[in-house]
């Protein structure tokens, strides 16, 4: 139990890289893995680590995020003391409500940060998915006496279009001596998982100081500039890490769930991933169903062929329909004798009968919410 830590999740990340999926929602609210939203993984990781005070910094388009989280009861965060706090931008005559960067956003939440009773803060983004229990990282942070500990994983490849790709160089003791953001060449295999632990008082000092110098980005303006003056340590995480740098990454990381080892890592039953309960019925297989190497959520009705795909809750696959290598989101329908391959159907999309839709592995077609083909 990590009672002396509170969580702070920044969900205002630029989200252009996920194209149509983030038109009306933040990355945190993007569906993932058949019945989840991206935020579920970080939030569950925090809760499973015994953290029960979590602030969620939202910027725009947070309506669907609030809908999803509700009072936080699925994460057991509907509490009288502590719990889940949505921190929307404060729009007044003087304030547009658009943050200039992470440090600017943190600055506007100083009230919440100061009120939080815990000594340490775990600061994360929302576009990196994993199922971790932070206990070890917190223990390491205390043992090394670090100012800030950054969780990292080994990422040998560089994404085509990386988002805030922060690379660490550490010595044998894991002390960080170099940090680089979005480097042209791969400077290190150690890539930040966008999770930082530090004392709350240090965060407050850093943010106040940055703000008074008109500096607004936590990574660029604080971490990188202070690499030598702060005691920064890396914490190596060896579990599966899904970074949603691009739509291709999003597609690939969903598909990775069809591998037993990835699925067992991300859905470790010792520390489950919580999400909004929808009271769907069991998935129903018809007499003509043929499903292989696929993940199927409750409420689906399948009477067609599904291969190498992820079906979210309540998807209908009619007789003769064939779905391959695709992600079909909640309540979408593929009607009789239609073909869907390498496609992402956002919520409520409908493929009418006798149609065909085919993308390519590195260019999956995306159908917007409620589109009808």
């Amino acid at each position: 139990m990590s009672k002396d830590v509170f969580g702070l999740i920044y969900t205002g990340e630029s989200n252009a890289q996920l194209r149509e999926l983030t038109l009306s929602r933040s990355i945190a609210a993007v569906p993932f893995g058949g019945r989840y939203r991206c935020i579920d993984f970080i939030l569950s990781s925090m809760v499973n680590s015994g953290i029960h005070n979590v602030g969620l910094i939202t910027q725009k388009n947070y309506h669907s995020l609030i809908d999803h989280l509700g009072s936080g009861k699925e994460w057991d965060l509907n509490r009288k003391r502590d719990g889940l706090f949505i921190l929307p931008p404060f729009v007044t005559k003087d304030n547009t409500g658009i943050y200039k960067g992470t440090a600017d956003a943190l600055n506007s939440c100083l009230g919440y940060i100061r009120r939080s009773k815990q000594r340490y803060v775990l600061l994360t983004g929302s576009h990196t998915i994993y199922n971790n229990v932070y206990d070890d990282m917190i223990a390491q942070h205390r043992e090394t006496g670090a100012d800030i500990t950054i969780m990292y994983s080994i990422a040998s490849s560089v994404s085509d279009n990386p988002y805030d790709d922060l690379r660490l160089k550490t010595d044998a003791s894991e002390r960080i001596y170099n940090l680089a953001i979005n480097p042209q060449n791969q400077v290190s295999e150690k890539r930040s998982c966008d999770a930082f632990i530090m004392e709350k008082s240090l965060l407050v000092d850093l943010v106040v100081d940055a703000n008074s110098h008109a500096l607004y980005d936590f990574i660029r303006d604080i971490l990188i500039k202070k690499t030598s003056t702060l005691k920064l340590y890396g914490y190596r995480y060896d579990g599966y890490v899904a970074r949603l740098d691009s739509l291709n990454d999003y597609f690939a990381h969903n598909m990775a769930l069809l591998q037993d080892n990835v699925r067992k890592d991300l859905f470790n039953s010792l520390h489950p991933i919580y999400t909004k309960v929808k009271d769907e019925v069991s998935a129903r297989y018809g007499e003509n169903a043929s499903v292989s190497n696929s993940m199927i959520a409750d409420g689906c009705e399948i009477d067609g062929v599904v291969q190498d795909s992820i079906l979210f809750r309540g998807v209908q696959v009619k007789k003769g329909a064939v779905i391959k290598n695709s992600i079909i989101m909640q309540a979408s329908q593929v009607h009789e004798n239609s073909n869907v391959e390498y496609a992402i159907l956002d919520k409520g999309a409908i493929i009418k009968g006798e149609r065909s839709l085919r993308g390519f592995e590195n260019f999956p077609i995306v159908l917007r919410k409620n589109s009808v083909v």
Binding site: G33, G34, R35, K73, L258, R263, L266, F267, S269, P272, I273, Y274, V277, D279, E280, V281, S282, A283, R284, Y285, G286, E287, N288, A289, S290, V291, S292, N293, S294, M295, I296, A297, D298, G299, E301, I310, L311, F312
Partner: protein, 403 residues
Amino acid sequence: MKRKKIVAMLLAGGQGSRLGVLTSTTAKPAVPFGGKYRIIDFPLSNCSNSEIDTVGVMTQYEPLALNSYLGNGQPWDLDRNSGGVFVLPPYISGDHGKWYSGTANAVYQNLKFLEQYNPEYVLILSGDHIYKMDYSLMLKFHEEKQADATVAVIRVPINEANRFGIMNTDDNSRILQFEEKPKAPKSDLASMGVYIFNYKKLKAYLNIDAEDKDSENDFGKNVIPLMLKNSCRMFAFSFDGYWKDVGTIKSLYDANMDLLTNPPKLQLNDITWRIYGRNPILPPHYASGDAEISHSLVTEGCEVYGTVKHSVLFAGVKVEKGTVIEDSILMPYSVIGADTQIKKAIVGENTVVGCNCLIGVEVSDSIDNSLTGDITLIANDMNVSNRASIPKGKVVRKKEDIV
């Protein structure tokens, strides 16, 4: 306490002995049903969907599992500020206490619970029926008839009527006569064990019944006949949906299989009448490249590497490669090893079946299948070793039963 228009009292006391090995550590209403549910989810969801927000669950047998299953009532939307769901075991009042001696006695012992809400009407339910019913329509009928009591009835085949409590009614649906399991039924209207009473009337008759030393303190046997005798205004409310008593292994099996017909005899995927339950925290199910699944219900946390036909798989079930499951019900978290065959069987919760087993496949003459017919039944928490064969109709309730 705010006055309530109607409060439901659910009789969940049954030890469910006819369900045998499935209820050795679970009260009958907590037996799993339909892939995701427990039997008690049905009356509770009916209450919630009928806008009844206060439910007393009367039980005296193993209330702990029920208590922790119901918890704060949130899954059924019954975590209300005033009202909600309460498990009501018998308690010591004044200097003495006693167990519930019958259905009417259970409600009698909880009159103080009802008095807190001082309702106009009381709805009596049993905990072992599968059906979707809008009790608010029955209440409307009850009010329109200005009835003292209303009994929900369903038409049954006349040749089976002798197994039920049968109502004889006039053209106006007023009950003239009530016969418990009549030899020569005069009607095909069977009581569903669902009653609405005017609270004041109910209180009066429960007090009379409690005074009667000869009474078995049962609604069907004592209270309702007495009210009829005293010319109370009692009406029969006809229900024509799906309704099934799941008090036996066979009926429990059949009711599960009724969900697999096309269209299903009972439609659970009904957005206007959701059945609520406590959801396990599990990912979507996974069907491997070798899996063949058809004509089945499969739910969260399942992993299927084998073949599943015409079966119901509950949460967290694992079916290994080469294994064939047919016409069967696999209860939550049961695990079936590789290259095993299971046919027309019920495998209990948390039971592990090894590899190369034959369950319900071979026929043996020495089997006592009085409880199950040709359904093979393996109890909860069992461990069936590799290469075991359990013949058709056998009931495995302890280690020694496995050959």
